[in-house]
């Protein structure tokens, strides 16, 4: 049976309307609801299903961030992960700590924990970088299966999402890194009894600096700004007026 490691990131909640901070250097995080990155939820769910199918022996959830990242890890534990590792850093995980730094940190944890299966979300909805999984596979020097819509460890195949549809690829061996896409599964709700039980599960804390000396990637955010607002629509009186406008103003028919 495999040992599974899952990366979970704490991000601004999907349902929150983000605002640009007054210095225009970042998104305002004050009093903003934070939740687990939706693709990480899918990664956790997949790991839990592997364990329920007796294909995994232990699931280790790893998160990088401030103290509040522990809340996100508790959610992962309530969903069914066995223990958690919190890598502490004061860097903003939406822009100061990039995919390269995260991949180095996760690779350092993987070296200690020797997982057979590593599952991460295909991207985080804050930075939208979408390359942590690939970089992690490179640092670990293992195969990578990205944008997974179906993972079959026995057949060593992954159905993956592509621009044209889906394709099935095979991977040579474990350990391997998988990145979770939207259709991989539908994550479960954390039940209240499991949230209570999760409080008793083990959570280790490691300072990021103790794992990786250099977390920089050379990127700097110059400015954060909102897209230009869409112009308001106009109401037309009847179909003739609509056709006229489409023909003469928009010139699309």
């Amino acid at each position: 049976m495999s040992r599974v490691m899952v990366g979970v990131k704490r991000v601004v909640d999907y349902a929150v309307k983000v605002r640009v901070a007054s210095d225009k250097k970042a998104v305002d995080l004050a009093n903003v609801k934070m939740s687990m990155n939706p693709f990480c939820e899918i990664a956790v769910e997949e790991a839990v299903r592997l364990k329920e199918a007796k294909k995994a022996s232990e699931i280790i959830a790893v998160s990088i961030g401030p103290k509040q990242a522990q809340e996100t890890l508790r959610t992962a534990l309530a969903m069914g992960c066995d223990r958690a590792i919190h890598i502490t850093t004061d860097l903003r995980t939406d822009q100061e700590l990039g995919p390269k730094g995260v991949a180095k940190l996760l690779a350092a944890v993987a070296e200690k924990e020797s997982p057979d299966v590593v599952i991460v979300g295909k991207q985080a909805i804050d930075g939208d970088m979408g390359c942590t999984g690939s970089m992690l596979a490179a640092y670990m020097d293992v195969p990578q299966c990205t944008f997974a819509a179906k993972i079959d460890l026995d057949a060593k195949t992954v159905e993956r999402e592509t621009d044209a549809g889906t394709e099935v690829v095979s991977f040579p061996s474990l350990p391997a890194v998988f990145t979770a896409d939207l259709r991989l599964n539908e994550p479960r709700y954390a039940t209240l009894p499991n949230i209570m039980k999760a409080k008793k599960k083990k959570m280790d804390t490691i300072a990021a600096a103790d794992l990786v000396a250099d977390l920089t990637d050379g990127n700097t955010v110059l400015e954060v700004f909102e897209p230009a607002p869409r112009a308001a629509g106009v109401l037309v009186d009847d179909v003739d007026a609509l056709v006229d406008k489409l023909k003469n103003e928009a010139a699309v028919i």
């Binding site: 929150v16 609801k33 939740s35 687990m36 939820e41 209240l192 209570m196």
Partner: protein, 492 residues
């Protein structure tokens, strides 16, 4: 002797002669919509309620015109004209009423449906004084978003918030899910402006909440259902935005356990409880049959949704976990789920809001909205069940546990022509039950045409004397009886 409203509208004049004068009063394009035999159905969104129960289908031959004024002055013109020609006026917001308050009763008599949708401007949002002054046609959701943008919270929230309008909310005294926490319409309404049937403006605008200068005239419009005049502008109190929110759905074995859960929520979460909603397992079955919604709830007799809005330093997460621990160990709940994200919270709210939609899918359905002591909830549901089971009727309940508002719904998979006949199984039983229990036959939906004959039975309503006084008040505002006739008060 009571002064009665004068008899309505005699002699009736056909609609067509009014269309040209009305069009000159409302010159913007699309302001006057009239029935057209060549284009039937065009007016249906305004002549029939969204559930298809009240009002009528526009067959292109009816006598109701739909007017869409663009400003208060145009509302004045319309009402002056209606008064001069004794035309009935049906004020309409988002047309989301559940009791037929906002649609004309019959296609036969000429009537003017006055839609407020174009009066949707927000005049002012004051962060320091925490109020929002807007026109009556503003959609509730837009007001919530406007308050949210400024770091404040609009007090009202209900299932139809994406289409209902704030003027309609005021006129129907809408309740909603946050009633217990943020209060009633009356406690949040700072002021309003209305146009009287004569065309005069009644300026009751204020931005402050405190005034002991005589009875509150603005309160008369709260729950008036368009029978006194047309509300054109309102001013609402805003609340601080919560620092953190959490939502959990508890599986609760019984109503007494639900009551224990409510007490625990009050003691462990302080004043943070913003919503306390209840659904029975029967309505969840109905939802899962009718809609492709995944149900998050582990099976149980009842399900209680608890939402926290925390303003304190201690987070809503800590509070909801403390509540869960206490409820699970003390037997108030057997199981439950926590929404880990805004998306999951929205999905759970989606199930709650789907209750009414699922019921509406049945050809024969009865919707009741009672205030009742919790001890009476199971009794009324059980008795109703006994009365309809023989005909295959299904009784489902949900509601606002916090303010003892039960939505009792009965559905039949029967031909829709049997609606009236099957009503005899339930009425007047349910109304008599509620009257005897000291409840209200309308906790938050209003009276409309559904319950206009029963206003004198509502606890706290003053009985027949109270209704007689309401008639006198109406006559003082609307001596010709043109405002939404037959709604709230029956035509005598």
């Amino acid at each position: 002797m009571l002064r009665r409203s004068p008899p309505l509208l005699s002699p009736l004049s056909p609609l067509s002669q009014h269309l040209a004068p009305l069009s000159s009063l409302l010159p913007s394009p699309g302001s006057v919509l009239s029935p057209s035999p060549s284009d039937p159905g065009r007016l249906t969104p305004h002549t029939r309620c969204w559930r298809g129960v009240h009002g009528f289908e526009d067959d292109g031959r009816g006598a109701a015109a739909v007017l869409r004024p663009s400003c208060t002055a145009e509302v004045q013109s319309v009402l002056r004209y209606a008064t001069a020609h004794r035309l009935p006026v049906i004020p309409q917001g988002g047309n989301t009423s559940l009791v037929g308050s906002a649609v004309p009763a019959s296609p036969a008599a000429p009537s003017l449906v006055v839609c407020l949708g174009r009066l949707d401007k927000i005049h002012e949002l004051d962060q320091t004084e925490a109020y929002l002054h807007c026109q009556a046609g503003a959609v509730l959701k837009d007001l919530q978003a406007a308050a949210d943008d400024q770091g404040l919270h609009f007090p009202l929230s209900l299932g139809s918030e994406g289409s209902c309008q704030i003027g309609g909310n005021v006129a129907t005294n809408a309740g909603g899910s946050y009633f217990e926490r943020y209060g009633s319409i009356s406690s949040n309404l700072l002021g309003l402006t209305a146009v009287l049937p004569s065309g005069e403006i009644l300026d009751l605008h204020s931005t402050l909440s405190k005034s002991s200068a005589g009875p509150s005239l603005r309160s008369l419009f709260v729950g008036s259902e368009g029978t006194l005049g047309i509300v054109t502008d309102v001013c609402f109190k805003l609340h601080p935005a919560p620092a953190s929110t959490e939502l959990a759905l508890f599986s609760v074995p019984s109503l007494s356990a639900a009551s224990s859960l409510q007490a625990l929520a009050a003691s462990t979460c302080g004043g943070a409880v913003s919503a306390l909603e209840i659904m029975d397992d029967r309505v969840l079955s109905l939802v899962s049959e009718q809609l492709p919604l995944p149900l998050p709830a582990p099976p149980s007799s009842y399900h209680v949704l608890v939402e926290l809005h925390s303003h304190a330093a201690s987070s809503a997460r800590e509070s909801i976990e403390a509540l869960a621990a206490a409820a699970l160990s003390g037997g108030a709940a057997s199981d439950g789920v926590l929404a880990s994200s805004g998306k999951e919270a929205a999905a759970i709210w989606g199930v709650r809001e789907a209750c009414g939609v699922a019921v509406n899918a049945f050809p024969v359905k009865f919707k009741y909205d009672f205030s009742l002591p919790l001890a009476k909830w199971e009794e009324i549901a059980a008795e109703a069940r006994g009365r309809v089971e023989g005909e295959g009727g299904r009784v489902v309940t949900w509601g606002h546990l916090g303010d003892r508002n039960i939505h009792l719904n009965v559905v039949f998979d029967a031909d829709s022509s049997r609606q009236e006949e099957l009503a005899g199984l339930l009425e007047p039983f349910v109304y008599d039950f509620v009257e005897a229990a000291g409840g209200s036959i309308s906790a938050e939906h209003g009276i409309g045409v559904c319950k206009a004959g029963r206003l004198d039975t509502v606890a706290g309503g003053g009985g027949e004397r109270g209704v007689a006084l309401l008639r006198q008040i109406k006559a003082a505002f609307d001596p010709l009886g043109i405002m939404n006739p037959g709604k709230l008060l029956q035509i005598e």
